[in-house]
């Protein structure tokens, strides 16, 4: 997520809602949902609705990878990071057995392990800190009207298209086929192994926090937001991490059950960019990536039949709705974007896009869904992206971005 759009937990009195934004988001939801219903199939409408709920959860939960990682490195606070680990653990417990239940048509988020993954995820991590968000973070902050993140998104899309053109070359560098942990350890063994891994990281995070502050603030385990009633918290945010964790986990599992594959975001950016280039006469079919079966199908057919695109549209509208309910739409764009922060959005966006394509996804598609699928590549992605993010955090002051 972005560091610039998180709703505050401060008590807002009186309760104000941005009616224009809320109504616009609902009309958009009805129009696009109706079109998807008429032209595709009911399960696509369900996925569109899930995307919308995920957008609300990301915004109201201020659930962030980028800020969570930075808070650990800079402020030695680990609640955000532990919330992510909890999310991965909960999802893995449900998703791994579902994937390997023998039900036909379910595909996990597994990917090759090699040079492409290592380089891509490292670049992505670097881009996260300069661009101001990961895949989901960029999208939900754009939905909430953040102008800086629109710049990041545009260059994110450009980066994914360039990455798609280069990916075949990267795949020819040293690497090997996907390693599903279930193949070596069985379903239970893979889940236990992953939970142990997540627990060890959580202990490391807590140790850093305890060393710096003398105690661990376990905000990730709160069920209730201080100072606000349940309904007001539900509608205007900010949600406790636990709410966001449960909804994001349920959303990803439902996406797998309904769509046949776990939640992913950045492939849609690839398709949007390639379609834009095609519309101005570029023959994308000349590039190897776009000759592969799935990208070729996605490029040829309607965006409304592409699950990541449909869910992304829902996510954008969900974040817009949530920002309207919180009366904070476009709030992060009051300051004019110029100079080095603008450059950071451009460079960050390009790195995010290029890295996402080489690394087989973003924090959602590669990390969250990857661990949910018990794939080794997700763990390597995590380590390399965190390394890149660490460098990105050190570079932020030069771009005049606050740490």
């Amino acid at each position: 997520m972005s560091e610039v759009a998180a709703p505050t937990s401060a008590i807002q009195s009186p309760w104000q809602v941005d009616r224009f934004v809320v109504v616009t988001a609902l009309v958009g939801f009805a129009l696009l949902g109706g079109l998807i219903w008429l032209e595709t199939a009911p399960f696509m409408v369900a996925l569109f609705a899930i995307g919308t709920v995920l957008g609300i959860a990301l915004y109201h939960g201020a659930f962030g990878f980028t800020a969570g990682w930075r808070n650990l490195v800079v402020h030695k606070r680990g609640a955000g990071m532990r919330a992510q680990l909890l999310l991965f653990g909960v999802t893995s417990i449900v998703m791994v057995p579902l994937l390997y239940s023998g039900q036909p048509g379910l595909i996990g988020a597994v990917a090759p392990v090699g040079t492409s993954l290592v380089v891509g995820s490292f670049i992505f991590g670097l881009g996260m800190q300069l661009g101001g968000g990961c895949g989901s973070g960029t999208l939900f902050t754009v939905g909430a009207g953040n102008l800086r993140m629109i710049i990041t998104l545009v260059f994110f899309i450009i980066g994914t298209v360039v990455g798609s053109i280069h990916l075949p070359w990267w795949l020819d560098q040293p690497g090997f086929d996907p390693v599903p942990l279930v193949a070596s350890f069985g379903v239970t063994g893979a889940i236990v192994l992953q939970l142990v891994g997540l627990l060890l990281i959580a202990r490391w995070v807590s140790r850093i926090e305890r060393k710096a502050h003398g105690q661990v603030a376990s905000d990730e385990l709160l069920w209730k937001q201080k100072g606000q009633g349940f309904w007001r918290t539900l509608i205007t945010g900010r949600w406790p991490f636990t709410w966001a964790i449960l909804i994001l986990a349920a959303g990803n599992v439902l996406t797998l059950a309904i769509g046949g594959a776990p939640w992913s975001i950045t492939f849609a950016f690839n398709v949007w960019g390639a379609k834009a280039l095609q519309s101005i006469g570029v023959d994308m079919g000349q590039f190897e990536f776009w000759q592969w079966e799935y990208p070729a199908m996605a490029l040829k057919d309607s965006l409304l039949t592409n699950i990541p695109s449909v869910m992304n549209f829902g996510l954008l509208l969900g974040a817009m709705l949530a920002a309207g309910l919180a009366n904070r739409f476009n709030e992060a764009s009051r300051n004019k974007l110029q100079g080095r922060p603008f450059l950071a959005a451009v460079v960050g966006g390009l790195l995010l896009g290029y890295g996402a394509r080489l690394g087989f996804g973003c924090n959602i598609g590669a990390l969250f869904s990857g661990i949910g699928s018990a794939s080794l590549h997700a763990w390597i992605w995590f380590a390399c992206a965190f390394g890149g993010s660490y460098i990105g955090i050190r570079l932020r002051p030069w771009f005049r971005l606050p740490n």
Partner: protein
């Protein structure tokens, strides 16, 4: 406090996105199929179960 955005601008951006989505759809095989053309191949629920990654990349072992 002044509003942080202009309503017209928000509507224009959303309208433009909707037009792009609809234009893309009107030129797609799915729309042609829905309009009664039987000889088009649509890709509802696009998936490639033989791929090695969510983006459809092949396995490194299958590459020369």
């Amino acid at each position: 406090m002044n509003p942080a955005y202009r309503k017209g601008r928000v509507l224009a951006v959303l309208g433009a996105i909707l037009i792009l989505i609809v234009t893309d759809h009107l030129n797609s095989p799915t729309f042609a199929f829905n309009s009664g053309q039987g000889n088009v191949q649509t890709a509802l629920s696009q998936k490639d179960e033989s791929a090695c990654a969510p983006c459809g990349a092949p396995c490194p072992s299958t590459r020369n």
